[in-house]
Protein backbone atom coordinates (compact mmCIF):
# COMPACT_ATOMS: atom_id res chain seq x y z
CA UNK A 1 0.00 0.00 0.00
CA UNK A 2 1.17 3.49 -0.82
CA UNK A 3 1.03 5.45 2.45
CA UNK A 4 -1.05 8.61 2.73
CA UNK A 5 2.15 10.62 3.22
CA UNK A 6 3.66 9.33 0.00
CA UNK A 7 0.35 9.71 -1.77
CA UNK A 8 0.18 13.39 -0.91
CA UNK A 9 3.78 13.88 -2.07
CA UNK A 10 2.86 12.26 -5.38
CA UNK A 11 -0.14 14.55 -5.70
CA UNK A 12 2.12 17.56 -5.05
CA UNK A 13 4.50 16.37 -7.78
CA UNK A 14 1.59 16.11 -10.22
CA UNK A 15 0.92 19.81 -9.66
CA UNK A 16 4.41 20.73 -10.84
CA UNK A 17 3.94 19.43 -14.38
CA UNK A 18 1.71 20.74 -17.19
CA UNK A 19 0.35 17.18 -17.51
CA UNK A 20 0.20 15.00 -14.43
CA UNK A 21 1.85 12.06 -16.20
CA UNK A 22 5.07 14.13 -16.14
CA UNK A 23 5.26 13.30 -12.44
CA UNK A 24 5.59 9.54 -13.08
CA UNK A 25 9.37 9.36 -12.62
CA UNK A 26 9.30 11.41 -9.40
CA UNK A 27 6.34 9.34 -8.20
CA UNK A 28 8.19 6.08 -8.82
CA UNK A 29 11.16 7.42 -6.84
CA UNK A 30 8.79 8.21 -3.96
CA UNK A 31 7.19 4.79 -4.08
CA UNK A 32 10.56 3.10 -4.26
CA UNK A 33 11.86 5.13 -1.31
CA UNK A 34 8.92 3.81 0.71
CA UNK A 35 8.89 0.14 -0.40
CA UNK A 36 12.39 -0.49 -1.74
CA UNK A 37 10.95 -1.60 -5.10
CA UNK A 38 7.84 -1.22 -7.22
CA UNK A 39 5.57 -4.25 -6.88
CA UNK A 40 2.82 -5.03 -9.35
CA UNK A 41 0.24 -4.09 -6.71
CA UNK A 42 1.96 -0.74 -6.29
CA UNK A 43 1.98 -0.27 -10.06
CA UNK A 44 -1.81 -0.66 -10.11
CA UNK A 45 -2.24 1.65 -7.16
CA UNK A 46 0.02 4.33 -8.63
CA UNK A 47 -1.72 4.06 -12.00
CA UNK A 48 -5.01 4.68 -10.22
CA UNK A 49 -3.65 7.77 -8.43
CA UNK A 50 -2.21 9.22 -11.65
CA UNK A 51 -5.04 8.32 -14.00
CA UNK A 52 -2.88 5.98 -16.08
CA UNK A 53 -3.19 2.40 -17.28
CA UNK A 54 -1.06 0.00 -15.20
CA UNK A 55 0.94 -0.91 -18.33
CA UNK A 56 1.92 2.74 -18.77
CA UNK A 57 3.49 2.62 -15.33
CA UNK A 58 4.99 -0.85 -15.70
CA UNK A 59 6.71 -0.11 -19.01
CA UNK A 60 8.42 2.85 -17.40
CA UNK A 61 9.51 0.78 -14.39
CA UNK A 62 11.14 -1.77 -16.68
CA UNK A 63 12.67 0.74 -19.12
CA UNK A 64 14.85 2.56 -16.59
CA UNK A 65 17.83 1.10 -14.73
CA UNK A 66 17.10 2.83 -11.43
CA UNK A 67 13.63 1.35 -10.89
CA UNK A 68 13.25 -2.20 -9.57
CA UNK A 69 10.29 -4.51 -10.02
CA UNK A 70 11.33 -6.95 -7.29
CA UNK A 71 12.73 -6.75 -3.74
CA UNK A 72 16.32 -5.59 -3.56
CA UNK A 73 19.25 -6.23 -1.23
CA UNK A 74 19.91 -3.43 1.24
CA UNK A 75 22.74 -1.93 -0.85
CA UNK A 76 23.76 -1.66 -4.48
CA UNK A 77 27.46 -1.25 -5.23
CA UNK A 78 28.27 -0.80 -8.90
CA UNK A 79 31.67 -0.41 -10.49
CA UNK A 80 31.77 1.57 -13.74
CA UNK A 81 33.24 -0.68 -16.44
CA UNK A 82 32.97 1.63 -19.41
CA UNK A 83 36.08 2.40 -21.44
CA UNK A 84 37.76 5.18 -19.41
CA UNK A 85 37.37 3.15 -16.20
CA UNK A 86 38.36 -0.14 -17.86
CA UNK A 87 41.55 1.50 -19.14
CA UNK A 88 42.37 2.19 -15.49
CA UNK A 89 41.71 -1.26 -14.10
CA UNK A 90 38.00 -1.21 -13.26
CA UNK A 91 37.33 -4.76 -14.46
CA UNK A 92 40.20 -6.19 -12.43
CA UNK A 93 38.88 -4.32 -9.40
CA UNK A 94 35.36 -5.64 -9.94
CA UNK A 95 36.61 -9.24 -10.18
CA UNK A 96 38.55 -8.78 -6.94
CA UNK A 97 35.49 -7.34 -5.24
CA UNK A 98 33.41 -10.31 -6.38
CA UNK A 99 35.91 -12.53 -4.64
CA UNK A 100 35.94 -10.31 -1.56
CA UNK A 101 32.17 -10.36 -1.03
CA UNK A 102 31.85 -13.96 -2.20
CA UNK A 103 29.14 -13.20 -4.73
CA UNK A 104 29.12 -12.62 -8.47
CA UNK A 105 27.88 -9.48 -10.19
CA UNK A 106 24.09 -9.43 -10.13
CA UNK A 107 23.82 -12.07 -7.38
CA UNK A 108 22.91 -10.67 -3.97
CA UNK A 109 24.94 -11.87 -0.98
CA UNK A 110 23.19 -14.57 1.07
CA UNK A 111 22.47 -12.20 3.95
CA UNK A 112 20.67 -9.80 1.58
CA UNK A 113 23.16 -7.09 2.46
CA UNK A 114 24.56 -6.22 -0.91
CA UNK A 115 24.58 -6.81 -4.63
CA UNK A 116 27.57 -5.97 -6.79
CA UNK A 117 26.96 -4.62 -10.25
CA UNK A 118 28.64 -2.97 -13.14
CA UNK A 119 27.51 0.32 -14.59
CA UNK A 120 28.00 2.09 -17.85
CA UNK A 121 29.64 5.52 -17.75
CA UNK A 122 28.75 7.47 -14.60
CA UNK A 123 30.58 10.67 -15.53
CA UNK A 124 33.61 10.13 -13.32
CA UNK A 125 36.11 9.35 -16.09
CA UNK A 126 38.96 11.40 -14.64
CA UNK A 127 38.50 9.74 -11.24
CA UNK A 128 38.71 6.13 -12.41
CA UNK A 129 38.22 3.53 -11.19
CA UNK A 130 35.07 4.39 -9.30
CA UNK A 131 31.94 2.83 -7.90
CA UNK A 132 28.51 4.07 -7.01
CA UNK A 133 27.24 2.75 -3.69
CA UNK A 134 23.52 3.48 -3.36
CA UNK A 135 23.43 7.24 -4.15
CA UNK A 136 27.07 8.07 -3.43
CA UNK A 137 30.10 8.11 -5.72
CA UNK A 138 33.45 6.76 -4.52
CA UNK A 139 36.30 7.70 -6.83
CA UNK A 140 40.03 7.14 -7.43
CA UNK A 141 39.63 3.72 -5.84
CA UNK A 142 42.19 1.09 -5.07
CA UNK A 143 41.27 -2.40 -3.89
CA UNK A 144 41.80 -1.77 -0.16
CA UNK A 145 39.73 1.40 -0.18
CA UNK A 146 36.93 -0.27 -2.17
CA UNK A 147 36.87 -3.25 0.20
CA UNK A 148 36.65 -0.99 3.25
CA UNK A 149 33.69 0.87 1.71
CA UNK A 150 31.84 -2.39 1.11
CA UNK A 151 32.75 -3.78 4.54
CA UNK A 152 31.25 -0.72 6.22
CA UNK A 153 27.81 -1.32 4.69
CA UNK A 154 25.32 -2.73 7.17
Amino acid sequence: MISTGTRSKIEAEMERYPQKRGALLPALYLVQAEHGYVSSDTVRELAEIMGLHPVEVMEVVTFYNLFFDRPQPRHHASVCTNLPCSLRGARVLLAQLEEHVGSKVGEPTDDGRLVLGHEECLGACAFAPMMRVDDAYHEDLDLEHAKSILDALE
Partner: protein
Amino acid sequence: MLKVPHVTSYLTEHFAEDAFGTLAGYEKKGGYAAARKALTEMAPGDVIELVKASGLQGRGGAGFNTGLKWSFMPADSDVPKYLVCNADESEPGSFKDRILLERSPHQLLEGILIAAYAVGACTTFIYIRGEYSFPADQVERAVAEAYDQGHLGPNVLGSGFRHDVVVHRGAGAYICGEETGLLESLEGKKGQPRKKPPFPAQVGAFGMPTTVNNVETFCHVPYIVNRGAEWFRGFGTEASPGTTLFGVSGHVVKPGLFELPLGTPLSEIVFEHAGGIAGGRKVKGVIPGGMSMPILPAGQLDVPMANESLRERGTMLGTGGIMVMDETTCMVRVGCVISYFFRDESCGQCTQCREGTGWLNKIMNRIERGAGQSEDLGVLLDIAAKMEGQTICAFADAAAWPVQGLLRHFRADFEEHVRLGRCPFTASFEL
Protein backbone atom coordinates in the same frame (compact mmCIF):
# COMPACT_ATOMS: atom_id res chain seq x y z
CA MET B 1 38.08 22.47 -4.24
CA LEU B 2 37.86 20.99 -7.70
CA LYS B 3 39.79 17.81 -7.03
CA VAL B 4 41.22 17.05 -10.48
CA PRO B 5 43.97 18.77 -12.46
CA HIS B 6 42.37 21.59 -14.38
CA VAL B 7 43.02 24.59 -16.57
CA THR B 8 40.61 27.49 -16.24
CA SER B 9 39.34 30.35 -18.28
CA TYR B 10 36.14 32.36 -17.78
CA LEU B 11 33.72 29.46 -17.25
CA THR B 12 35.69 27.68 -14.56
CA GLU B 13 37.68 30.64 -13.22
CA HIS B 14 36.26 30.38 -9.70
CA PHE B 15 35.79 26.63 -9.49
CA ALA B 16 38.42 26.25 -6.79
CA GLU B 17 36.18 28.26 -4.43
CA ASP B 18 33.31 26.41 -2.80
CA ALA B 19 31.45 29.68 -2.22
CA PHE B 20 31.00 30.11 -5.98
CA GLY B 21 28.30 27.44 -5.73
CA THR B 22 26.16 29.62 -3.44
CA LEU B 23 24.03 32.53 -4.57
CA ALA B 24 25.91 35.02 -2.39
CA GLY B 25 29.29 33.75 -3.53
CA TYR B 26 28.23 33.79 -7.17
CA GLU B 27 26.90 37.35 -6.95
CA LYS B 28 30.12 38.46 -5.27
CA LYS B 29 31.91 37.49 -8.47
CA GLY B 30 29.49 39.49 -10.60
CA GLY B 31 26.89 36.77 -10.96
CA TYR B 32 23.36 37.63 -12.19
CA ALA B 33 24.56 40.98 -13.63
CA ALA B 34 24.13 39.56 -17.14
CA ALA B 35 20.60 38.37 -16.37
CA ARG B 36 19.74 41.81 -14.95
CA LYS B 37 21.12 43.44 -18.08
CA ALA B 38 19.30 41.12 -20.47
CA LEU B 39 15.96 41.22 -18.66
CA THR B 40 15.88 44.98 -18.08
CA GLU B 41 17.87 46.55 -20.91
CA MET B 42 17.50 44.19 -23.86
CA ALA B 43 14.60 43.00 -26.00
CA PRO B 44 14.30 39.21 -26.33
CA GLY B 45 15.12 39.44 -30.04
CA ASP B 46 18.32 41.37 -29.24
CA VAL B 47 19.47 38.59 -26.93
CA ILE B 48 18.91 36.02 -29.67
CA GLU B 49 20.81 38.18 -32.19
CA LEU B 50 23.70 38.65 -29.76
CA VAL B 51 24.05 34.93 -29.11
CA LYS B 52 23.74 34.23 -32.84
CA ALA B 53 26.49 36.79 -33.54
CA SER B 54 28.73 35.23 -30.89
CA GLY B 55 28.72 31.99 -32.90
CA LEU B 56 28.15 29.92 -29.74
CA GLN B 57 27.69 26.29 -30.73
CA GLY B 58 25.74 23.83 -28.57
CA ARG B 59 28.08 21.93 -26.29
CA GLY B 60 25.99 18.78 -26.02
CA GLY B 61 27.50 17.02 -29.01
CA ALA B 62 25.89 18.24 -32.21
CA GLY B 63 27.51 21.70 -32.23
CA PHE B 64 24.50 23.55 -33.67
CA ASN B 65 24.44 27.38 -33.52
CA THR B 66 22.66 28.18 -30.24
CA GLY B 67 21.20 31.57 -31.24
CA LEU B 68 19.84 30.06 -34.43
CA LYS B 69 18.21 27.26 -32.44
CA TRP B 70 16.54 29.84 -30.21
CA SER B 71 15.26 31.74 -33.25
CA PHE B 72 13.24 28.67 -34.31
CA MET B 73 10.90 29.21 -31.36
CA PRO B 74 7.66 30.96 -32.39
CA ALA B 75 7.95 34.62 -31.34
CA ASP B 76 4.22 35.12 -30.93
CA SER B 77 2.47 32.27 -29.30
CA ASP B 78 -0.69 31.93 -27.27
CA VAL B 79 0.45 28.63 -25.79
CA PRO B 80 3.09 28.21 -23.07
CA LYS B 81 6.66 27.75 -24.28
CA TYR B 82 9.22 25.68 -22.43
CA LEU B 83 12.94 25.55 -22.05
CA VAL B 84 14.73 22.33 -21.17
CA CYS B 85 18.23 22.00 -19.79
CA ASN B 86 19.73 18.71 -20.87
CA ALA B 87 21.77 17.57 -17.88
CA ASP B 88 21.46 13.91 -18.78
CA GLU B 89 25.19 13.71 -19.43
CA SER B 90 25.90 10.06 -20.19
CA GLU B 91 28.29 10.07 -23.12
CA PRO B 92 31.18 7.85 -22.00
CA GLY B 93 34.27 9.99 -21.49
CA SER B 94 32.22 13.09 -20.56
CA PHE B 95 31.96 14.55 -17.09
CA LYS B 96 32.07 18.31 -17.72
CA ASP B 97 28.37 18.93 -17.09
CA ARG B 98 28.57 17.13 -13.78
CA ILE B 99 31.40 19.45 -12.67
CA LEU B 100 29.43 22.49 -13.85
CA LEU B 101 26.33 21.35 -11.93
CA GLU B 102 28.33 20.69 -8.79
CA ARG B 103 30.56 23.76 -8.85
CA SER B 104 28.38 26.45 -10.43
CA PRO B 105 24.63 25.80 -10.31
CA HIS B 106 23.92 29.54 -10.28
CA GLN B 107 25.99 30.10 -13.41
CA LEU B 108 23.70 27.55 -15.04
CA LEU B 109 20.55 29.20 -13.65
CA GLU B 110 21.67 32.61 -14.90
CA GLY B 111 22.22 31.21 -18.40
CA ILE B 112 18.80 29.56 -18.22
CA LEU B 113 17.11 32.82 -17.18
CA ILE B 114 18.63 34.71 -20.10
CA ALA B 115 17.71 31.97 -22.57
CA ALA B 116 14.18 31.70 -21.15
CA TYR B 117 13.70 35.44 -21.55
CA ALA B 118 15.05 35.30 -25.13
CA VAL B 119 12.69 32.53 -26.26
CA GLY B 120 9.77 33.57 -24.05
CA ALA B 121 9.65 30.40 -21.97
CA CYS B 122 7.52 30.35 -18.81
CA THR B 123 9.15 27.24 -17.29
CA THR B 124 12.48 25.45 -17.52
CA PHE B 125 12.77 21.75 -16.82
CA ILE B 126 16.29 20.77 -15.79
CA TYR B 127 16.55 17.08 -16.68
CA ILE B 128 19.39 15.58 -14.63
CA ARG B 129 20.41 11.97 -15.05
CA GLY B 130 19.26 9.85 -12.13
CA GLU B 131 22.75 8.74 -11.13
CA TYR B 132 23.80 12.38 -10.55
CA SER B 133 22.27 12.54 -7.05
CA PHE B 134 24.80 14.93 -5.58
CA PRO B 135 24.82 17.30 -8.59
CA ALA B 136 20.99 17.31 -8.58
CA ASP B 137 21.02 18.16 -4.86
CA GLN B 138 23.27 21.14 -5.61
CA VAL B 139 20.95 22.37 -8.35
CA GLU B 140 17.87 21.96 -6.15
CA ARG B 141 19.57 23.93 -3.41
CA ALA B 142 20.49 26.68 -5.88
CA VAL B 143 16.94 26.80 -7.28
CA ALA B 144 15.56 27.18 -3.74
CA GLU B 145 18.02 30.01 -3.06
CA ALA B 146 17.06 31.71 -6.31
CA TYR B 147 13.32 31.57 -5.46
CA ASP B 148 14.10 32.84 -1.99
CA GLN B 149 15.92 35.88 -3.35
CA GLY B 150 13.45 36.62 -6.14
CA HIS B 151 15.80 35.48 -8.90
CA LEU B 152 13.09 33.00 -9.91
CA GLY B 153 9.34 33.25 -9.61
CA PRO B 154 6.73 35.84 -10.57
CA ASN B 155 9.06 38.85 -10.87
CA VAL B 156 12.58 37.73 -11.75
CA LEU B 157 15.16 40.26 -10.50
CA GLY B 158 12.40 42.87 -10.34
CA SER B 159 12.09 42.88 -14.14
CA GLY B 160 8.48 41.77 -14.36
CA PHE B 161 9.52 38.57 -16.18
CA ARG B 162 8.04 35.44 -14.66
CA HIS B 163 9.98 32.21 -14.68
CA ASP B 164 9.77 28.86 -12.91
CA VAL B 165 12.31 26.05 -12.79
CA VAL B 166 11.52 22.38 -12.19
CA VAL B 167 14.38 19.99 -11.43
CA HIS B 168 13.56 16.61 -12.91
CA ARG B 169 15.61 13.50 -12.17
CA GLY B 170 16.00 10.84 -14.85
CA ALA B 171 16.23 7.19 -13.94
CA GLY B 172 19.14 5.64 -15.80
CA ALA B 173 18.91 5.53 -19.60
CA TYR B 174 21.56 6.87 -22.00
CA ILE B 175 18.97 7.48 -24.71
CA CYS B 176 17.34 10.20 -22.59
CA GLY B 177 20.27 12.43 -23.54
CA GLU B 178 18.82 12.49 -27.06
CA GLU B 179 16.61 15.55 -26.96
CA THR B 180 13.33 13.95 -27.99
CA GLY B 181 14.01 10.84 -25.89
CA LEU B 182 14.49 13.28 -23.04
CA LEU B 183 11.15 14.97 -23.78
CA GLU B 184 9.34 11.61 -23.77
CA SER B 185 10.97 10.78 -20.44
CA LEU B 186 10.05 14.19 -19.03
CA GLU B 187 6.45 13.41 -19.95
CA GLY B 188 6.59 10.22 -17.87
CA LYS B 189 7.15 7.73 -20.68
CA LYS B 190 9.86 5.40 -21.91
CA GLY B 191 12.69 7.47 -23.36
CA GLN B 192 12.17 6.50 -26.98
CA PRO B 193 13.14 9.29 -29.39
CA ARG B 194 10.51 10.90 -31.60
CA LYS B 195 10.41 11.20 -35.34
CA LYS B 196 11.30 14.66 -36.59
CA PRO B 197 9.67 16.81 -37.91
CA PRO B 198 7.96 18.19 -35.99
CA PHE B 199 11.01 19.56 -34.20
CA PRO B 200 10.81 20.49 -30.51
CA ALA B 201 10.61 24.20 -31.35
CA GLN B 202 7.16 23.43 -32.82
CA VAL B 203 6.03 20.44 -30.74
CA GLY B 204 8.26 19.80 -27.75
CA ALA B 205 7.60 19.11 -24.08
CA PHE B 206 3.92 18.40 -23.33
CA GLY B 207 3.09 19.33 -26.93
CA MET B 208 4.36 22.91 -26.60
CA PRO B 209 7.18 24.80 -28.36
CA THR B 210 10.39 23.85 -26.58
CA THR B 211 14.10 24.58 -26.81
CA VAL B 212 16.56 22.05 -25.41
CA ASN B 213 20.12 23.12 -24.61
CA ASN B 214 23.03 21.44 -22.88
CA VAL B 215 24.30 22.53 -19.43
CA GLU B 216 27.58 23.96 -20.71
CA THR B 217 25.84 25.84 -23.51
CA PHE B 218 23.74 27.76 -20.96
CA CYS B 219 26.82 28.50 -18.86
CA HIS B 220 28.53 30.43 -21.68
CA VAL B 221 25.55 32.73 -22.18
CA PRO B 222 25.99 35.15 -19.22
CA TYR B 223 29.55 35.88 -20.34
CA ILE B 224 28.42 36.66 -23.87
CA VAL B 225 25.77 39.04 -22.54
CA ASN B 226 28.25 40.77 -20.19
CA ARG B 227 31.25 40.97 -22.45
CA GLY B 228 29.86 40.83 -25.97
CA ALA B 229 29.99 38.67 -29.08
CA GLU B 230 33.36 40.09 -30.18
CA TRP B 231 34.95 39.22 -26.86
CA PHE B 232 33.61 35.67 -27.13
CA ARG B 233 34.98 35.37 -30.65
CA GLY B 234 38.39 36.26 -29.23
CA PHE B 235 38.57 32.63 -28.08
CA GLY B 236 38.62 29.64 -30.39
CA THR B 237 38.44 29.56 -34.16
CA GLU B 238 36.43 31.60 -36.64
CA ALA B 239 33.88 28.80 -37.11
CA SER B 240 34.01 27.54 -33.51
CA PRO B 241 34.33 30.42 -31.04
CA GLY B 242 34.74 30.30 -27.29
CA THR B 243 36.34 27.93 -24.87
CA THR B 244 35.03 24.50 -24.01
CA LEU B 245 35.61 21.95 -21.28
CA PHE B 246 37.75 19.05 -22.38
CA GLY B 247 37.57 16.04 -20.08
CA VAL B 248 40.63 13.85 -20.42
CA SER B 249 40.63 10.25 -19.22
CA GLY B 250 42.42 6.95 -19.82
CA HIS B 251 46.17 6.36 -19.95
CA VAL B 252 47.39 9.86 -19.13
CA VAL B 253 49.46 11.08 -16.19
CA LYS B 254 46.89 13.72 -15.14
CA PRO B 255 43.30 12.92 -16.11
CA GLY B 256 41.29 16.08 -15.62
CA LEU B 257 39.10 18.89 -16.86
CA PHE B 258 40.64 21.56 -19.04
CA GLU B 259 38.88 24.73 -20.19
CA LEU B 260 40.64 25.68 -23.39
CA PRO B 261 39.77 27.53 -26.59
CA LEU B 262 38.14 25.45 -29.29
CA GLY B 263 40.80 24.68 -31.86
CA THR B 264 43.46 23.79 -29.26
CA PRO B 265 45.52 20.96 -30.79
CA LEU B 266 44.63 17.55 -29.40
CA SER B 267 48.34 16.84 -28.86
CA GLU B 268 48.66 19.92 -26.62
CA ILE B 269 45.74 18.74 -24.48
CA VAL B 270 47.05 15.19 -24.14
CA PHE B 271 50.78 15.85 -23.75
CA GLU B 272 50.89 19.23 -21.99
CA HIS B 273 47.72 19.68 -19.99
CA ALA B 274 47.09 16.00 -19.19
CA GLY B 275 50.78 15.32 -18.69
CA GLY B 276 51.28 12.80 -21.50
CA ILE B 277 51.10 9.02 -21.36
CA ALA B 278 51.58 7.31 -18.01
CA GLY B 279 54.52 4.98 -17.49
CA GLY B 280 56.58 6.53 -20.28
CA ARG B 281 54.67 4.50 -22.87
CA LYS B 282 53.64 5.71 -26.32
CA VAL B 283 50.14 6.73 -27.35
CA LYS B 284 48.24 4.40 -29.68
CA GLY B 285 44.90 6.09 -30.24
CA VAL B 286 42.66 8.84 -28.89
CA ILE B 287 38.88 9.15 -28.98
CA PRO B 288 38.42 12.91 -29.27
CA GLY B 289 34.83 13.63 -28.30
CA GLY B 290 33.03 11.00 -26.26
CA MET B 291 32.61 7.37 -27.17
CA SER B 292 30.33 7.94 -30.16
CA MET B 293 33.07 9.69 -32.06
CA PRO B 294 35.53 7.76 -34.25
CA ILE B 295 39.02 7.23 -32.84
CA LEU B 296 42.15 8.95 -34.16
CA PRO B 297 45.52 7.17 -34.44
CA ALA B 298 48.73 8.49 -32.85
CA GLY B 299 49.84 10.16 -36.08
CA GLN B 300 46.81 12.48 -36.22
CA LEU B 301 46.93 14.18 -32.83
CA ASP B 302 48.04 17.48 -34.34
CA VAL B 303 44.37 18.09 -35.20
CA PRO B 304 42.80 21.29 -33.80
CA MET B 305 39.89 20.39 -31.50
CA ALA B 306 37.10 22.09 -33.44
CA ASN B 307 34.40 20.51 -35.56
CA GLU B 308 35.59 21.95 -38.86
CA SER B 309 39.03 20.34 -38.49
CA LEU B 310 37.92 17.12 -36.81
CA ARG B 311 35.40 16.46 -39.60
CA GLU B 312 38.28 16.53 -42.10
CA ARG B 313 39.78 13.63 -40.12
CA GLY B 314 36.51 11.71 -40.16
CA THR B 315 35.52 12.40 -36.58
CA MET B 316 33.83 15.11 -34.47
CA LEU B 317 34.18 17.17 -31.32
CA GLY B 318 31.08 15.61 -29.72
CA THR B 319 31.09 16.39 -26.01
CA GLY B 320 34.85 16.99 -25.77
CA GLY B 321 35.41 13.79 -23.78
CA ILE B 322 38.94 12.74 -24.72
CA MET B 323 39.88 9.11 -24.04
CA VAL B 324 43.55 8.26 -24.40
CA MET B 325 44.88 4.76 -25.04
CA ASP B 326 48.53 3.75 -24.82
CA GLU B 327 50.50 1.32 -26.99
CA THR B 328 49.53 -1.73 -24.91
CA THR B 329 45.84 -1.30 -25.76
CA CYS B 330 44.02 -3.97 -27.77
CA MET B 331 41.68 -2.13 -30.12
CA VAL B 332 39.44 -5.17 -30.47
CA ARG B 333 38.85 -5.04 -26.70
CA VAL B 334 38.06 -1.36 -27.11
CA GLY B 335 35.55 -2.41 -29.77
CA CYS B 336 34.05 -4.97 -27.37
CA VAL B 337 33.55 -2.38 -24.63
CA ILE B 338 32.08 0.21 -27.00
CA SER B 339 29.75 -2.18 -28.80
CA TYR B 340 28.53 -3.66 -25.49
CA PHE B 341 27.57 -0.18 -24.33
CA PHE B 342 25.48 0.57 -27.41
CA ARG B 343 23.89 -2.88 -27.34
CA ASP B 344 22.94 -2.31 -23.72
CA GLU B 345 21.56 1.19 -24.29
CA SER B 346 19.67 0.85 -27.58
CA CYS B 347 16.05 1.75 -26.84
CA GLY B 348 14.92 -1.02 -29.16
CA GLN B 349 12.60 1.08 -31.26
CA CYS B 350 14.28 0.77 -34.68
CA THR B 351 15.22 -2.63 -36.09
CA GLN B 352 18.54 -1.52 -37.60
CA CYS B 353 19.72 -0.30 -34.22
CA ARG B 354 18.21 -2.98 -31.98
CA GLU B 355 19.57 -5.81 -34.11
CA GLY B 356 22.68 -4.06 -35.42
CA THR B 357 24.09 -3.11 -32.02
CA GLY B 358 23.68 -6.73 -30.88
CA TRP B 359 25.47 -8.15 -33.90
CA LEU B 360 28.30 -5.63 -33.74
CA ASN B 361 28.91 -6.69 -30.15
CA LYS B 362 28.67 -10.45 -30.85
CA ILE B 363 31.14 -10.24 -33.71
CA MET B 364 33.56 -8.05 -31.75
CA ASN B 365 33.49 -10.57 -28.89
CA ARG B 366 34.02 -13.46 -31.30
CA ILE B 367 37.07 -11.81 -32.82
CA GLU B 368 38.51 -11.01 -29.39
CA ARG B 369 38.20 -14.59 -28.14
CA GLY B 370 39.96 -15.87 -31.24
CA ALA B 371 36.98 -17.33 -33.07
CA GLY B 372 36.72 -14.59 -35.69
CA GLN B 373 36.64 -15.28 -39.43
CA SER B 374 38.35 -13.11 -42.01
CA GLU B 375 34.90 -12.15 -43.41
CA ASP B 376 33.92 -10.73 -40.03
CA LEU B 377 35.67 -7.42 -40.68
CA GLY B 378 33.58 -6.86 -43.78
CA VAL B 379 30.43 -7.92 -41.94
CA LEU B 380 31.11 -5.35 -39.19
CA LEU B 381 31.44 -2.58 -41.77
CA ASP B 382 28.36 -3.81 -43.64
CA ILE B 383 26.24 -3.74 -40.48
CA ALA B 384 27.59 -0.32 -39.51
CA ALA B 385 26.75 1.07 -42.95
CA LYS B 386 23.20 -0.31 -42.73
CA MET B 387 22.67 1.32 -39.31
CA GLU B 388 24.05 4.74 -40.16
CA GLY B 389 21.44 7.31 -41.15
CA GLN B 390 18.64 4.73 -41.18
CA THR B 391 16.94 5.26 -37.84
CA ILE B 392 14.73 7.69 -35.92
CA CYS B 393 17.60 9.19 -33.94
CA ALA B 394 21.39 9.46 -34.14
CA PHE B 395 22.01 6.66 -31.62
CA ALA B 396 22.55 4.09 -34.41
CA ASP B 397 25.06 6.46 -36.05
CA ALA B 398 26.79 6.83 -32.70
CA ALA B 399 27.02 3.04 -32.46
CA ALA B 400 28.28 2.64 -36.04
CA TRP B 401 30.90 5.40 -36.15
CA PRO B 402 33.31 4.06 -33.51
CA VAL B 403 33.34 0.65 -35.22
CA GLN B 404 34.11 2.30 -38.55
CA GLY B 405 36.85 4.38 -36.90
CA LEU B 406 38.49 1.34 -35.29
CA LEU B 407 38.56 -0.53 -38.58
CA ARG B 408 39.77 2.52 -40.49
CA HIS B 409 42.82 3.06 -38.30
CA PHE B 410 43.44 -0.24 -36.49
CA ARG B 411 42.44 -2.89 -38.99
CA ALA B 412 45.75 -4.67 -38.38
CA ASP B 413 44.74 -5.40 -34.76
CA PHE B 414 41.58 -7.14 -35.98
CA GLU B 415 43.40 -9.08 -38.72
CA GLU B 416 46.02 -10.23 -36.24
CA HIS B 417 43.35 -11.69 -33.92
CA VAL B 418 41.78 -13.59 -36.81
CA ARG B 419 45.13 -14.83 -38.14
CA LEU B 420 46.41 -16.04 -34.75
CA GLY B 421 43.09 -17.25 -33.40
CA ARG B 422 43.74 -15.38 -30.15
CA CYS B 423 44.31 -11.91 -28.75
CA PRO B 424 47.97 -10.97 -29.15
CA PHE B 425 47.84 -8.01 -26.76
CA THR B 426 48.82 -9.66 -23.50
CA ALA B 427 49.57 -6.36 -21.73
CA SER B 428 46.27 -4.71 -22.69
CA PHE B 429 43.64 -3.64 -20.17
CA GLU B 430 41.55 -6.61 -18.96
CA LEU B 431 38.11 -7.27 -20.35
